[in-house]
């Protein structure tokens, strides 16, 4: 305790002052910059080659590992998929008439499409997955040099919403995924059309799940129900994505708020 007293007497003010100045400077730079503060941007640029390097090495090891995998499972899966494709083709043939009729009705009634066609994609590679146990984030290898901005939506190859760009540097960007605690967006149960708010919850984050709050008191959710984004997109998000088939009601849905 004497050591602490002496230390605080001699240097406490200076240390406090230095910490305060640095904290305020970082907070101010973070607030003033639209994408990322200059220091954060510079650090990102400096570490980008390292991220790319170790990602390349890790991918090489993964490729080697995959090369030696037993192909029996793949053959079985291939056979099952062929059957599935045959069924799907049959369904498509039956649906073609319905689609044509739907198109005609759309034209007759002058209806606008619910889902906007997305354009202006930029293909990215994930150079870093979660960097701490308290946030769910990804680092991508594209940034403001390719017009990527904070608030841009990120989707996977199947069109599912992955998350939103939270920081963007010259050749990198950080994405907070949907299950991060910062997430809060309108959601709709596909089967019953009931609306709620999907929110990130720290206790569910590790299970890749969101909490669905503000549901009607008499809602009748069932395990396996699909939840989609309702279209109520938080301010700052650059585009509206409607589907995320990965959201399903767990076996024991959380109690509605």
């Amino acid at each position: 305790m004497i050591g602490l007293k002496n230390f605080l007497k001699q240097h406490g003010l200076w240390v406090l002052f230095a910490a305060a100045v640095l904290s305020v400077a970082m907070a101010v730079m973070s607030v003033l910059s639209a994408n990322s503060s200059p220091l954060v941007n510079l650090t990102g640029i400096l570490v980008s080659p390292f991220r790319a390097g170790y990602t390349a090495v890790a991918n090489w090891f993964n490729d080697l590992q995959n090369y030696y995998k037993d192909t029996t499972d793949l053959l079985a899966e291939n056979a099952a998929l062929r059957q599935q494709i045959a069924k799907n083709e049959e369904t498509i043939r039956e649906a073609e008439a319905a689609v044509a009729e739907n198109e005609l009705l759309h034209q007759l009634l002058d209806l606008t499409r619910k889902r906007r066609d997305l354009s202006n994609f930029e293909a990215c590679m994930v150079t870093e997955h979660a960097v701490s146990n308290w946030t769910s984030s990804l680092t991508l290898n594209k940034g403001t040099s390719l017009d990527i901005q904070v608030g841009d939506c990120v989707i996977d190859a199947c069109g599912n919403l992955v998350g939103v760009v939270s920081k963007a540097g010259t050749n990198w960007s950080t994405v907070l995924t949907l299950v991060d605690t910062d997430t809060s967006l309108g959601a709709q149960v596909f089967r019953t059309k009931e609306l709620g708010v999907a929110q990130g919850d720290f206790s569910l984050m590790r299970e890749n799940r969101l909490r669905l709050d503000y549901l009607p008191a008499d809602c009748t959710l069932l395990p396996g129900d699909i939840v989609v984004t309702s279209g109520l997109i938080p301010p700052g998000w650059s585009s509206a994505l409607w589907w995320n088939p990965r959201w399903t009601i767990p076996a024991r849905p959380p109690t509605p708020f």
Partner: protein, 170 residues
């Protein structure tokens, strides 16, 4: 009184050692998962050097590590580590000066304090955002500490070798 060149050499060596640890964390440890968590060494990089160097140098070094961490890691506020790591450095420095001599036991206690401070602060921020998760946060804290404990020994040996290299006259 250490000559200025020796001081510069000492802190350059500490910085290089820490940069190497950051590289290992980014390149290897972030891809591993033990008991459901990534081994998170950043608090140890603030605490262990401070146990060898004492309160004032330890606090300043931890402050620098905190700034680097804030620049590298996404977080709920832009200066989370800048605020917490100097406190960790101070606690670790005072601990080694007053109660436990720098070594494995001191590193273990400092690491426990480091995770307690860092993760409590994160829980506090979540609570202030209206997303309180004290129980889940405590569980993650315990897991992070357990996942980091195996790395205490090599890190302590590593920083001790840096300390010995830079304090030949002590």
């Amino acid at each position: 009184m250490i000559a200025r060149n020796e001081t510069i050499f000492k802190w350059a060596l500490y910085a290089a050692a820490t940069a190497l640890c950051l590289l290992i964390q980014g390149g290897l440890l972030q891809r591993l998962e033990f008991w459901g968590v990534i081994p998170f060494l950043y608090p140890l990089l603030a605490a262990i050097p401070a146990t060898f160097e004492g309160p004032l140098p330890g606090t300043i070094f931890s402050l620098c590590v905190g700034v680097v961490c804030d620049l590298l890691l996404p977080g709920p506020i832009p200066c989370l580590f800048t605020l917490i790591f100097p406190l960790i450095g101070l606690c670790a420095g005072l601990l080694s000066q007053s109660w436990l001599p720098a070594g494995f036991l001191c590193s273990l206690v400092s690491a426990a304090a480091a995770f307690l401070l860092t993760d409590s602060f994160r829980c506090l921020i979540l609570w202030m955002q209206g997303k309180a998760a004290w129980q889940a946060g405590a569980l993650v804290m315990v897991r992070e500490f357990c996942a980091a404990v195996p790395f205490l020994v090599p890190l302590t040996l590593f920083y001790r070798s840096v300390y010995r290299k830079t304090h030949l006259d002590d």
